[in-house]
């Protein structure tokens, strides 16, 4: 896009809140997809990209279905090509010397392989990419941006307005329905403590706790042991799990005691616990720069102060760890 130097007028800026509301509603819509409209968009995108139309456009209930449906349909469509391959293979194998056979087989295989591997490896987020469509359509409809490519954008926008995630291959395109339900916290993050935060009509679900993806069993009250939770590999999930399980329960279960508490909560509190099957372990409970509490970091048993423990997580000595700001 060329820089025009054009500035937004107060009238244009005044339209922003309405534009945002409109696209947030589309982005979080749980209405069933309008597959007919979305399919027009898909066909338009293939045409705009100068590609042959796909042999089939699947209508699936979820992004999960899109992935599996595309793979299965792709293989079915190419089965005829594979049959030809098998016939050639058998005939050549029967009639020709191994060396010739190997060359012919390689050539046939290469041709077949070329056919089946022409996947465009392209996907679009549909309504889940609402921010992009809001941005471009605002420039077009409110600011007055004109350009040849906007005709192509129209097809993509049509999909986003009417359906969810889509994937593209040479032979198969697949469109996902919108989610059936989306649960958010007060800050608009995916969140549900006792079930999926987002689920689709075929039963595909994702679980989240204040925006952090978590194992589904946690939302059913089935948590790992305190020890497993304290050493959970993903720190965001660890924080979420510890909060869901409850710090008092974890500390009680492992009989933890405070070794040193720094005045700065972002340096943290050094704790020690005798963990079953592990022995004495020390860990640091800290607050991070975003104000989130309960980040827990396992630290060396040799650390005796919270500052020493914190510095060691950076590979530093206490006198080398003096951040002026934390964010």
């Amino acid at each position: 896009m060329k820089k025009t130097g054009q500035k937004l007028t107060p009238e244009m800026i005044a339209q922003m809140p309405g534009w945002v509301d409109k696209w947030v509603k589309l982005g979080l819509s749980t209405e069933p997809a309008d597959f007919n409209a979305a399919e027009k968009g898909v066909r338009g995108c293939y045409q705009a990209a100068g590609l042959k139309q796909p042999k089939i456009i699947l209508r699936m209930d979820s992004p999960y279905g899109v992935i599996y449906g595309t793979a299965i349909a792709h293989n079915i469509i190419n089965a005829e090509i594979n049959k030809v391959y098998a016939q050639v293979y058998a005939q050549v194998d029967d009639q020709v010397h191994d060396q010739v056979y190997a060359q012919v087989r390689a050539q046939v295989y290469a041709q077949v392989s070329d056919q089946v591997s022409k996947i465009y490896r392209t996907y679009r987020g549909g309504n889940l990419w609402a921010g992009w469509y809001a941005h471009v359509s605002f420039l077009r409809d409110v600011v007055g941006w004109k350009g040849d490519k906007l005709n192509d954008f129209f097809h993509d926008e049509l999909i986003a307005k009417n359906a969810g995630w889509t994937i593209w291959t040479e032979t198969v395109a697949a469109i996902s329905d919108r989610p059936k339900n989306i649960r958010l916290d007060d800050e608009g993050r995916l969140h549900c403590v006792d079930g999926p935060a987002i689920f689709w009509r075929d039963g595909y679900t994702l679980c989240a706790w204040h925006g952090v993806r978590i194992p589904a069993e946690w939302t059913r009250g089935s948590f790992p042991s305190a020890k497993e939770m304290l050493f959970w590999k993903n720190i965001e999930q660890r924080r979420a799990g510890c909060s869901m399980l409850g710090w008092s329960k974890i500390l009680k279960e492992i009989n933890a005691k405070v070794i040193d508490k720094d005045n700065n909560p972002m340096v943290g509190t050094l704790m020690e616990a005798d963990i079953p099957d592990s022995g004495i372990e020390r860990f640091l409970v800290v607050e991070c720069g975003t104000g989130r509490k309960g980040i827990v970091l396992p630290v060396s048993r040799e650390a005796n102060t919270a500052l020493e423990a914190n510095a060691s997580t950076w590979g530093l000595k206490p006198d080398q760890y003096k951040p002026e700001v934390r964010s």
């Binding site: 372990e281 950076w314 951040p323 002026e324 934390r326 964010s327």
Partner: protein, 114 residues
């Protein structure tokens, strides 16, 4: 945006101004116009825009990297997460050491994963 003189932390990244680059570093290429200062498994990378006058380096220790910003340039260290985002840090001209936070496990130290 936060500013600092010598040392600052952004989530699990600690950035410290140093006098000069150590020997034996390799220059790291940008990806899609950005240097990934600290990679996140969930895509919440810490990044700096690739602009003239900024170079990113790595050495033998995978938890330490280096950034060089010429004096006439300022860049920002961004955290690419749409929620609970760590505030951006302004990096003025200088040489920086970037450390990733680690945690201790019975098997040894490992990089904090998020």
């Amino acid at each position: 945006m936060k500013t600092f003189i010598k040392q600052a932390a952004q989530g699990d990244v600690l950035i410290t101004r140093i006098d000069k680059l150590p020997e034996g570093l390799s220059e790291t290429r940008s990806q899609d116009g950005k240097f990934i200062i600290a990679h996140s498994e969930t895509g919440h990378h810490h990044t700096v825009a690739e602009v003239p006058g900024v170079q990113f380096f790595s050495g033998k220790d995978p938890t330490i990297a280096y950034l060089e910003v010429i004096d006439s340039v300022e860049v920002t260290l961004e955290h690419e997460r749409t929620f609970d985002t760590h505030e951006s840090l302004l990096l003025k001209g200088g040489t920086y050491e970037i450390r990733r936070q680690q945690e201790y496990t019975p098997e040894g130290w490992r990089r904090v994963a998020d």
